[in-house]
C-alpha cells in the first residue's frame, strides 16, 4: 500500500514537474521580439512562451518588486540591471547552460553595470539620436545639438516622453555627462530646455516615426529602430549622431528573483543567442545585435547601415545611461516644472 502511494506521489510530482517544465513567462518591451521567433522556440523545445510587455524600465521594476515569481525572464536596460542586482531582485545566471554566450562580442560582456555577467545576458542595443526630414531641411541640417535649438524649428520638433533622454540632450549640449547627479548641472540643463520647449510640438516615445512620416514634425529625437523604419520607408529621413554626444543603451536578459522556470529561461536565452535567431531579430526590429556571429549572417545593407551600426568614431561619442539613484527626483522635479510653464 505504502509503495503504491509513494509511486503515485512520485508520478504526481513528475507530472507537475513536466507541466511546469513546459512554460516560460517572458516580460519584454513592447514590439521588441518577432512572434515567429517565439513560435519557433515553442516548436523546437515544446516550451510555451507567455509574453507580457512594458513601456518603461520603471514600470517593469515596480511590477517585479511588487509581485514575486510571476515572470521568468525580463529585459532591463543596463542601469536597471545594476540597480536590480544591487537590490537583490535578480537570480544569478548559470553560464554553463548558455553555451551560445560565446557568440557575444567581448566588448559587450563584463561591463561595469554587471561584472562577469553574473546577472545579465546582452539582447540588443541601440542609440537615441536625431532623425530629420532631409527633403524639407536639406542634407546635413543637424550636425550638433545646437541645431535643435534653432528657432526655425518652432513647432516642428519631437522629443521622447522620457525625462532622462530629454535632459540628456541639454546636459550633452553643456558638455556634461548624461548621467549627471549634480543638482547644479541638472538645473543648468533645465534652463537650456526651457528655451527648447517652445519648439516642441509633441512628446512621443511610442511611435515617433508616424509624426515624422506624416510631416507633423521635421526633426525627432528618437531611438535608432524608429529611425531605421522611417528611413526604410523614405530615404530622405536621415539619422544624425550629434557631435557633442548622444545616449547609447543596451537591454539584457535577466531572471527576476523567485522565477519558477529558471531552466527554461536559460534555454530561451541560449536559443536567442543562436546566430540565425539573433540575426533574424536584429533584421526585423532594426536594432543592433551584440552577437558577432549573427552580424556575419545579416545582409550587407543591414550590416553597413549607419543607423543600426554606428561607425567606430560615432560610437566613441555615445554614452551609456547609468542609474542616477536619488538624483532622479531632481530630474523629475524639473521635468514637472518644464512641462507646466
Amino acid at each position: 500500500m505504502k509503495k503504491i502511494i509513494l509511486t503515485l506521489l512520485f508520478t504526481f510530482c513528475l507530472l507537475i514537474n513536466i507541466a511546469q517544465a513546459k512554460e516560460l513567462y517572458l516580460f519584454n518591451w513592447s514590439e521588441y521580439i518577432p512572434d515567429e521567433v517565439l513560435e519557433q522556440f515553442t516548436k523546437e523545445t515544446g516550451i510555451k512562451v507567455y509574453l507580457s510587455t512594458y513601456d518603461s524600465n520603471e514600470a517593469m521594476y515596480t511590477k517585479i518588486k511588487l509581485v514575486k515569481g510571476e515572470y521568468d525572464l525580463i529585459v532591463p536596460s543596463t542601469y536597471f540591471v545594476e540597480k536590480m542586482a544591487r537590490e537583490g531582485l535578480l537570480e544569478p545566471i548559470n553560464h554553463k547552460l548558455i553555451p551560445n554566450l560565446k557568440n557575444i562580442s567581448p566588448k559587450f560582456l563584463n561591463q561595469s553595470f554587471d561584472p562577469e555577467n553574473k546577472y545579465s545576458v546582452p539582447y540588443m542595443w541601440g542609440s537615441t539620436a536625431v532623425c530629420y526630414n532631409s527633403a524639407r531641411l536639406g542634407k546635413g541640417y543637424i550636425k550638433s545639438l545646437n541645431d535643435l535649438w534653432n528657432p526655425e524649428l518652432k513647432g516642428k520638433l519631437l522629443l521622447p516622453n522620457d525625462v532622462r533622454e530629454v535632459f540628456g540632450l541639454a546636459l550633452k549640449k553643456l558638455g556634461y555627462s548624461i548621467n549627471e547627479t549634480n543638482p547644479k548641472h541638472i538645473e543648468e540643463a533645465y534652463l537650456e530646455l526651457k528655451k527648447l520647449l517652445p519648439l516642441v510640438k509633441v512628446f512621443d516615445s511610442d511611435s515617433p516615426k508616424h509624426a515624422l512620416l506624416n510631416e507633423e514634425v521635421l526633426v525627432a529625437v528618437t531611438w535608432s529602430g524608429e529611425a531605421f523604419i522611417a528611413n526604410s520607408e523614405d530615404q530622405n529621413f536621415l539619422y544624425a549622431y550629434p557631435k557633442e554626444g548622444y545616449s547609447l543603451w543596451m537591454d539584457s536578459f535577466a531572471i527576476p528573483r523567485g522565477a519558477k522556470n529558471v531552466e527554461n529561461a536559460h534555454k530561451f536565452m541560449n536559443f536567442i543567442l543562436r546566430p540565425d535567431i539573433s540575426a533574424k531579430i536584429s533584421q526585423e526590429m532594426g536594432y543592433a545585435t551584440p552577437n558577432q556571429a549573427a552580424i556575419k549572417l545579416l545582409p550587407p545593407e543591414i550590416q553597413n547601415n549607419p543607423i543600426i551600426y554606428p561607425s567606430q568614431e560615432e560610437l566613441k561619442r555615445g554614452e551609456f545611461q547609468t542609474d542616477v539613484q536619488d538624483a532622479l527626483l531632481v530630474y523629475e522635479k524639473y521635468w514637472n516644472e518644464l512641462k507646466n510653464n
Binding site: E58, E87, V200, K201, H210, N214, E215, E332, N340
Partner: protein
Amino acid sequence: MKHKFYFFKYPLIFWLITFVLIPSSAIFAVVFFSFHPTNFFSLPLTLSNFKKLFELHFVQIFLNSLFLAGGATIISLLLGYPFAFILSWLTPKKKKLALFFIILPFWTNSLIRTYSLVLLLGKKGFFNNFLLALGIVNTPLELLYTKIAVFIGLVYTLLPFMILPIYSSFEKMNKKLLEAARDLGASSWNVFFRIILPLTKSGIYSGCLLVFLPALGMFYIPDILGGSRDILLGNFIKDQFLFTRNWPLGAAASLVLSLIMIVLSTLFFKEKKIKFVHE
C-alpha cells in the same frame, strides 16, 4: 421588509470591500508615510506630502486638468442637449436606430478609436485632404497635437454619456405640458426656460457628472492627441506610482482627486433629493 433576493447583497458587499474600501484605505494610509527610494514608502509618519504637492506646480497641473475636463463638459452639453431633444421626438423605429448608432462606438476599444483620430486629424489625414480637395484651405490645418484635437477627442469619447441621461429625462417629460404652455400663451423662450429646462435638469446634472469626472482622470487622450506637452492629474499620479516611485506623493494627489469627485457627486445627489421631495 426582507426582499426575496436579499442574499444578493453579500457579493456586492464583498465587491465593495475588496475593490473599493481596501484600496482606498491603503491609499489614504500611504499619504502619511515618507518617501523611500527603494521601498515605495517608509516611516516616519508625516503631513509634508500635501505641502510637497503644492511645491510641484500641482495647482497648475490641477488647473490644466480642470480646463480640459470643464471645456469638454460644456461642449458636450451644447452638442448633446439639442441632440437628445431631437432624439426624443423621433418615431420609435428611428429612435431605436439612433440609439443603436450612439452605442455602436463602444464596441471598439476607446484607445484604438483615439489612435484612429490621429490618422483623421493629421496633416496628411482624411480631414485635411478633404478640405484641400474642396479648396477650402490651401495649406493643411494644424489640428493634431493642439488643444482643439484634445477637445475633439474628449467630446467624441464622452458625448454618449451626456446624451443618454438627458435623453432619458426628455422621455420622462410629459409632452402635453408643452402644448398646455403654448395654449396659455407662453413664448418659446418661456417654454424652454420655465418648463423644458427645469424638467430635464436632473439629466443635465447626470450627464455633466458622467462627462466631467472621467475627463478629469483621462490622460491618454490629451497624451495621444495633444502631444503630451502638459502634465495632467492622471499622468502625475501614474508617474508618482510607476516612475519616481514616490507613493506617498501619488497617494496625496489621488486623494485630492477623490475628494473633488466626492464633493461633486454629493452636490449632485443633494440636488436629486430636492427633486424627489417636490415629486
